[in-house]
């Protein structure tokens, strides 16, 4: 669950990245967040993950009020999110399995929990045979699957992906989106930021379009750049 009420974000250098954003994402939804470069997509994501704080307005994430959240509560809020980046951000010197284990240990999971959860998640992303490979021994698409597995491994209620397919070819990109769709069908809320118009239009999902820091359109079925397709 994400709720933005009249959110403004002005960076220290005076850039107004968001200018009064109202958005509501309910549990179980699949949402594309689209918009041109510099429109404020990543800013919106960083507000959700509490990497930055809003200048004005209210932000609620999975029951946490980010306007009043204490530093001690921030980690607890982040445990409800699984975050995926364009550049994967895997630990190169750890194997696939160890990368997932690392994330689980970070929130205090026991070895027993690791042994139970990791094979299940790897099988879900189709990498059950490659647990002992290092990221460098995998293709870009496979590396992003590892990142998705890592985001899932702590069983978050929401997955947030900022341009997860930016480094992948169209076929790999489609496969990643279909994987995210499947994860959504299993009950996890999914928010995907993307540039790729064609990719968005392959799905019939809710599309939130942002431009110049404002929500331009919000609807199901392929709104993009203000024009209905």
């Amino acid at each position: 669950m994400v709720r933005f009420i009249d959110v403004h974000k002005e960076y220290d250098n005076g850039t107004k990245a968001l200018k009064g954003v109202n958005v509501r994402i309910d549990d179980g939804e699949f949402v594309f967040l689209v918009g041109p470069s510099g429109s404020g997509k990543s800013t919106l994501i960083k507000l959700i993950t509490a990497e930055i704080a809003p200048t004005e307005g209210r932000v609620m994430v999975n029951g946490f009020n980010l306007n009043t959240i204490t530093p001690r509560q921030v980690p607890l809020m982040r445990r409800t999110l699984g975050i995926i980046f364009q550049d994967f951000r895997l630990i190169e010197k750890k194997t696939v399995y160890e990368n997932l284990a690392f994330s689980m240990r970070a929130i205090g999971a026991s070895n027993r929990e690791l042994r139970r959860r990791i094979p299940y998640v790897l099988q879900l992303v189709g990498l059950d045979k490659k647990g002992d490979r290092f990221p460098g021994q995998l293709s870009g698409g496979e590396q992003q699957r590892v990142a998705i597995a890592r985001a899932l491994v702590n069983n978050p209620s929401m997955i947030i992906a900022d341009e997860p397919t930016g480094n992948l070819d169209p076929q790999r990109s489609l496969e990643i989106m279909m994987l995210l769709e499947r994860i959504n069908e299993l009950g996890t809320t999914v928010l995907v930021v993307t540039h790729e118009k064609n990719l968005v239009n392959r799905f019939t999902k809710r599309v939130v379009a942002i431009e110049n820091g404002r929500i331009m359109s919000d609807g199901t079925g392929g709104y993009y750049n203000g024009e209905k397709i």
Binding site: P75, L76, R78, R79, I83, R89, F102, A106, N154
Partner: protein
């Protein structure tokens, strides 16, 4: 998910981190060893000096001569008045007869000449020890004010000399130790900063997953502590070797054994405890100094 204090994890991460940037760890340990040894050497010097000064101070007594006009009984009666004087710790009454006997005993070679020395040549006196030799001059003046006292003899210059030597040694040691502590702290802080730099991606991932600050900090605190304690342990043994060497040279250097040194083994537990304590404080302090800033994300 369960929140547990996983000491095994923190220790293995801390140890691992030490080896991934071995050179800096080595430099940090060396610095701690150097710091502790210089600190230890000064402290041991001060302790030994203090010990020797203590002996000498004990011998440094004042003599209060009692006026001839008083009878021996009257002289004895002065004891409470003298004892009342501030800073007086010990009073011993010595009759003129005892003084003569003592005088003769110390000069056996010329005993014949002294044989018919009249006891009248001596005065009844008190031997006085003081609590604090720094205030010897005031005590002397106060004793002279007591009725029935004819004269007070005291080696004020020698007492002042002792006090000055001790004060200078303590002052120099304090300043040096202070400087070295700060330097070591910064070296450790830099080592840990380097460690966090090596692991910045992992830290970012841990934060993203919802790791608590404590979980992220602990391995670095453990790392700093291990560096500090390793340095302390090495310093303890090196200090031991150095001390034995100096002790041997000191004994060889003076056959009269004017210099008496306290044995290292009798102080070993204290030294080890102090070194470990200081090492751990420097190590943990340096870690906290290094990670305090970057955790504010």
């Amino acid at each position: 998910m369960a929140r547990r204090f996983d000491a095994g994890y923190y220790i293995s991460e801390g140890v691992h981190s030490i080896f991934t940037h071995g050179f800096m760890s080595f430099a940090a340990v060396c610095m701690i060893v150097a710091c502790l040894i210089i600190m230890g050497s000064f402290s041991l010097l001060a302790v030994n000096l203090d010990n020797m000064l203590g002996d000498l101070e004990n011998e440094n007594e004042m003599v209060v001569y009692i006026d001839d006009s008083l009878t021996q009984d009257q002289a004895r009666a002065l004891q409470p008045n003298l004892a009342q004087v501030d800073n007086v710790s010990q009073l011993t009454f010595v009759t003129k007869e005892a003084a003569v006997t003592d005088f003769k005993a110390k000069r056996q070679e010329i005993a014949d000449v002294l044989n018919d020395l009249p006891s009248d040549a001596f005065q009844d006196r008190y031997r006085v020890h003081v609590v604090d030799i720094e205030r010897m001059a005031q005590t002397k003046a106060a004793l002279e004010q007591v009725e029935g006292v004819s004269e007070v003899q005291a080696a004020i210059e020698i007492a002042d000399g002792f006090v000055m030597v001790r004060n200078i040694a303590t002052g120099v040691a304090m300043v040096l130790i202070g400087i070295l502590l700060v330097v070591s702290l910064f070296i450790i802080a830099n080592t840990i900063k380097l460690a966090t730099f090596y692991r910045r991606e992992e830290i970012a991932i841990m934060k993203m997953c919802g790791a608590t600050d404590g979980f992220i900090e602990w391995p670095f605190v453990v790392e700093g502590m291990i560096l500090g304690l390793t340095g302390a342990l090495i310093a303890f043994f090196v200090q031991w070797g150095l001390y034995q060497l100096v002790a041997k040279l000191a004994v060889q250097g003076n056959g009269l054994s004017l210099v008496t040194m306290i044995s290292y083994s009798s102080m070993a537990t204290t030294i080890l405890a102090v070194f470990c304590g200081v090492g751990a404080v420097i190590g943990v302090g340096g870690s906290l100094l290094a990670i305090r800033k970057f955790l504010q994300v």
